[in-house]
Symmetry: C2
Subunit: 250 residues, 2 copies
């Protein structure tokens, strides 16, 4: 039995999210159906670093699966890409130790969030950036962003639906970059609660609009109450950019 680690990109637009469900096209369901064909009808489960919601994209999602087939790593990518629809792309497949786990072995994740600041929407970016034609004080956003760095209880920045007990996470970086009418947020952390990135972004946008002071981030974190934070930013601006693992798996 060989364990394969696979890095995958997908355009979340036409998926009802990553996770397989009884109805609706999902990333997991689509990949598992292809793997089942390759395994001559035998069902194969894949296990990802985490779910992504409907509309959320991935540049570098990671999953693993176990197989009895004797196929070289490079050939796995080609075989999967040949059978997958073109809104899913296998970027890399590697043989890893059986102790590797896409979720539990991950030591950090990076998400990006993209805003289009043009006054007019852009038909070509409508599913891949959040159109935000309002003026923003980027300096204030950057000041607020710094207050997320470090280890905090992120109860205020997670969906009330979250069932995770321990809401303490560490943010290693939160950079805000403005270029060509695009504002990109890059956030790297030990892990993220349900909707956490989108609530952080939604709150930073309220800071940028002057509805909140940058310093409020501190009191929102301390309050441990979802209602203190801002709105959840829409899914289609969000990208799971990279999942990082301590050990090199090759």
């Amino acid at each position: 039995m060989a364990r394969m680690k696979v890095t995958v990109a997908y355009d979340g637009t036409d998926f009802a999210g990553y996770q397989i469900q009884p109805s609706g096209r999902t990333v997991q369901g689509t990949i598992q159906a292809v793997l089942q064909k390759i395994h001559k009808g035998e069902s194969v489960s894949i296990s990802a670093s985490g779910r992504t919601d409907a509309g959320v994209h991935a540049v570098g999602q990671v999953f693993h699966f176990d197989t009895d087939l004797q196929i070289p790593a490079e050939a796995w990518s080609k075989a999967l890409n040949a059978m997958l629809p073109n809104d899913i792309l296998i970027k890399k497949a590697e043989r890893v130790e059986n102790s590797f786990h896409s979720r539990f072995s991950a030591c950090s994740k990076e998400y990006h969030y993209k805003l289009l600041l043009n006054k007019q929407p852009d038909v070509f970016k409508r599913n891949h950036m959040f159109h935000y034609p309002y003026s923003l004080n980027v300096a204030d956003i950057k000041r607020a962003a710094e207050l997320f760095l470090g280890t905090h209880d992120f109860t205020s920045f997670s969906s009330a639906k979250s069932e995770v007990e321990d809401k303490v996470r560490t943010i290693f970086g939160l950079n805000v970059m403005e270029e060509d009418n695009t504002l990109t947020f890059k956030i790297r952390g030990s892990g993220f609660l349900y909707n956490m990135v989108r609530i952080i972004i939604g709150t930073l946008l309220e800071v940028g609009q002057g509805k909140r002071k940058p310093e409020e981030i501190v009191t929102i974190l301390e309050g441990k109450d979802r209602s203190l934070a801002g709105k959840t930013a829409p899914a289609h601006g969000l990208y799971l950019y990279q999942v990082n693992y301590e050990e090199k798996t090759e």
Copy 2:
């Protein structure tokens, strides 16, 4: 009766082309249906600078229509955008002289064609750039591109399906720009025959691959035979970028 000139962008991915047809979602059909609602059920025809095929995009297509409604130009854009799906965007609506015609008043058109040169495809650009992972001699492409400039009979570079008699057109510019693994062709001319841009691009790619010499463009033009030129490049890399009119219409 007021004549309105409208500049519109659309993502051609989910359209069966610009021109209305008995079945299939079209740009013209979608816009006319919205205009009919605004005109309380009265049908309104729009007349564009030209058709675009299924999958072809527009950054600045132009159409005109006539209306009895007393609506300021600015309000037309808002009303249409509020009712149109988000893969069509009205960029500008202007009142023009009744003598203005989107097609016959046009003095030149500009098309862009975009290639993605990365080795791997990009799920986010799959409908908006032609993925071309082969090595290209860009200097040769540029030498060949220059040979299109000026006035020529473009029979060799138009679909055999074309029913137009006069196949003489003038190319004012054909620039090739390489940036960030993207090759963009910008072609401006007096007018274009059916599939002309895509056949020019397909032929230039064969030059870039070394299958043809740049000088061959001259003999292909002189031969006036479609079979002499290269393949038709795919639709999804093509953008109707701009339609130019001699007189300022505002």
